[in-house]
């Protein structure tokens, strides 16, 4: 309890409040611009937060994450084009409300539901993280090896459109993670004599390439659209007491679903919002009205996708397994700040972690305030043309990749990975799995080789503990999930 209160006292420092406010605003803008993603925003922000105190940096990253998750609803409601894929379900009823002249009401619903989702997920963050982190105390090198395998199988198995392509993405990331110094022998691998690559591929530059520059190319391959014809917010951004009563139970239930989906690696905001939408439909008496523009149809997905934010941070901070691309990048930000996921975050670095948690609560409150009072402004920004975004995002990507080590090599790495990231998306591979493999690869390699050295090359040492077997079991299960699901679906359709 003392830690929690201390965290709030620190989070209310002026610099942290400013960081929270600005990052939420930037996040909402990024989220509301169709074509830009939360991952892109967080990747670009990492180098800027490099020089900040760890807690301020983490609050800023969380601010962009939460803001972008919510911001996606603005263009979903006004343009029928979700700003982020997580807001796709919001567009169904949200845009119908706009057509009825209730855009303000739809935006207010999205804001309040997102707030409920975000706050409830922060409760989960406070309560579930410490016990899960203490589990990591029991991990030795062999367990870390299996943990990295588990992280890779689950993200590759669940998130890609095709499991094989998900696994290929993970394997490609593992191959790329061997670039740099051999962790045990100190021999340079695939560095072409370049000292800048001894520490491995420059992580932030690679991320910015994969998520930001690739986005620039995806915008450039399409005909530039004119967004001036989008709808205006004519009514008040306001909900009556009765309406708030109507959306509260739906939002609470969807938020719980969002938290659970967030904790499960590989699922993420898009899946959560569609489940949230369906649950809202199940919860509401007037099911026929869904799809014609009702507030429950907006509240369900929005509460669910913002609840994913806190949920997805739990496995990231405790076990070092990020569930989606944004948390994979956030994990990179954590490591850059010298913090390692696990029990240390709640003991040695308790001050930083609890300040970050309190900051996460503040970020959600600021999101509510900005959403209710400044949404018209954000709506105007969401109409910025792609033609303007293309050079601006690339120029920011250049600064971002240069800033960490003041090295032009990093900028070229970003440029190359921007093109790689573009093809990764075009070939339906999974960028998040590649990033995860870049993070987990060295952990797995060190775990594997340390175990073998400690046991004089005896491979059976990898199977020595119960935790190892549990991790192997759930890795196999995660690979089997798509197969099991398709068998169940087939049986269901036969039964019908």
């Amino acid at each position: 309890m003392e830690n929690i209160l201390l965290g709030f006292a620190n989070a209310f420092k002026f610099v942290n409040l400013v960081a929270a406010f600005l990052s939420v605003a930037v996040g909402i803008v990024i989220g509301s611009l169709p074509g830009l993603s939360a991952a892109m925003g967080v990747a670009l922000l990492i180098p800027i937060t490099f020089g900040m105190p760890a807690e301020t940096a983490l609050i800023a990253l969380a601010g962009v994450y939460c803001g972008a998750m919510y911001g996606g609803s603005i263009s979903a409601i006004l343009l029928h084009t979700p700003g982020t894929s997580s807001a796709a379900a919001t567009a169904i009823d949200g845009y119908q409300m706009t057509l009825k002249g209730q855009a303000g009401k739809a935006l207010a619903t999205a804001t309040i539901a997102s707030f409920i989702g975000g706050i409830l997920s922060s409760v989960a963050l406070y309560t579930l993280s410490p016990p899960l982190a203490s589990l990591a105390l029991k991990f030795g090198p062999a367990e870390y090896f299996w943990l990295s395998i588990f992280g890779l199988t689950i993200i590759a198995g669940v998130s890609a459109k095709s499991m094989l392509k998900g696994l290929i993405s993970g394997a490609l990331g593992l191959v790329l993670s061997t670039i740099g110094m051999d962790p045990m022998l100190g021999i340079p691998r695939f560095t072409f004599g370049n000292n800048g690559l001894l520490q491995g591929l420059p992580f932030t530059a690679t991320l910015i390439g994969l998520f930001s520059m690739s986005q620039v190319l995806l915008l450039a391959e399409k005909k530039i659209k004119d967004l001036k014809g989008s709808r205006e917010v004519k009514d008040k951004v306001y909900l009556s007491k009765d309406e708030i009563k109507r959306i509260t139970p739906v939002s609470l239930w969807s938020a719980i679903i969002g938290i659970v989906v967030g904790i499960l690696p590989g699922a993420g905001g898009t899946i959560a919002s569609f489940i949230g939408y369906n649950e809202a439909k199940r919860f509401t008496k007037d099911k026929e009205a869904f799809g014609t523009g009702i507030i429950e149809g907006v509240a369900g997905p929005e509460a669910a996708n913002n609840a994913v934010t806190g949920g997805s941070l739990i496995p990231t901070l405790t076990l070092g397994i990020p569930g989606n691309s944004v948390t994979a990048i956030l994990l990179g930000g954590l490591v850059i700040q010298g913090l390692r996921p696990g029990p240390d975050l709640f003991t040695i670095h308790g001050k930083t972690t609890y300040t970050f948690f309190a900051g996460f609560v503040i970020v959600n409150i600021l999101m509510l305030i900005l959403g209710l009072f400044a949404v018209r402004l954000f709506a105007k920004v969401s109409k910025v043309s792609d033609a303007v975004l293309i050079p601006i995002i690339f120029a920011l990507s250049v600064i971002g990749s240069y800033a960490i080590s003041n090295n032009m090599l990093d900028v070229w790495v970003m440029f190359i990975f921007g093109i790689v990231g573009y093809f990764v998306k075009k070939f339906n591979l999974n960028s998040a799995a590649i990033v995860l493999a870049l993070i987990l690869g060295p952990i797995g390699e060190t775990g594997l080789r340390r175990t073998l050295i400690m046991h004089k090359g005896n491979y059976m040492a990898l199977f020595g503990s119960t935790i190892s077997w549990v991790l192997i079991g759930i890795s196999v299960l995660s690979l089997m999930t798509p197969v099991i699901m398709s068998i169940i679906e087939k049986k269901k359709s036969k039964a019908n």
Partner: protein
């Protein structure tokens, strides 16, 4: 998508080949792990190639159809030139030129292009260099 997937398979094979070649130049005690992960990628690639080969053709979902190729190549080219120019002209000058030429190429009006490129570059300079003290790439100008 079949053709595209076959292309992906061959690109991955080339990547595996490249890494195998590079591994052969490493000292023997350091090759075990890189060989292991490259072989995993190779096996998955071969499975991908075989399953794709056996699949029926479906032309409709080709991800590379209907693209604005000229526009895409223009953006890649200007962006590459921009990175080259930074070391010569400095970040601010090259950013003005890059944003201006890209906006102009993407058919934004002359006046708006000029305003955005200069306004953006000034904002970046003030925000990063002065407020956040983030170093900008240097050149002969600024």
């Amino acid at each position: 998508m079949k053709k595209v997937d076959m292309l992906l398979g061959f690109i991955l094979l080339a990547i595996c080949g490249f890494f195998y070649f590079m591994i052969s130049r490493l000292p023997e005690k350091a090759i075990l792990y890189p060989i292991f992960v490259t072989t995993v990628l190779l096996i998955l690639t071969l499975i991908h190639l075989i399953t794709t080969y056996l699949k029926k053709e479906d032309e409709e979902s080709n991800a590379f159809k209907g693209l604005e190729i000229k526009q895409l190549l223009f953006v890649i080219a200007t962006s590459g030139l921009y990175v080259v120019l930074i070391n010569i002209a400095g970040y601010v000058t090259s950013t003005v030129l890059y944003v201006l030429s890209t906006l102009f190429g993407l058919k934004v009006s002359k006046k708006a292009s000029a305003l955005i490129s200069i306004g953006f570059s000034i904002c970046i300079y003030v925000l990063f260099k002065i407020l956040l003290k983030v170093p900008l790439p240097k050149g002969f100008i600024i």
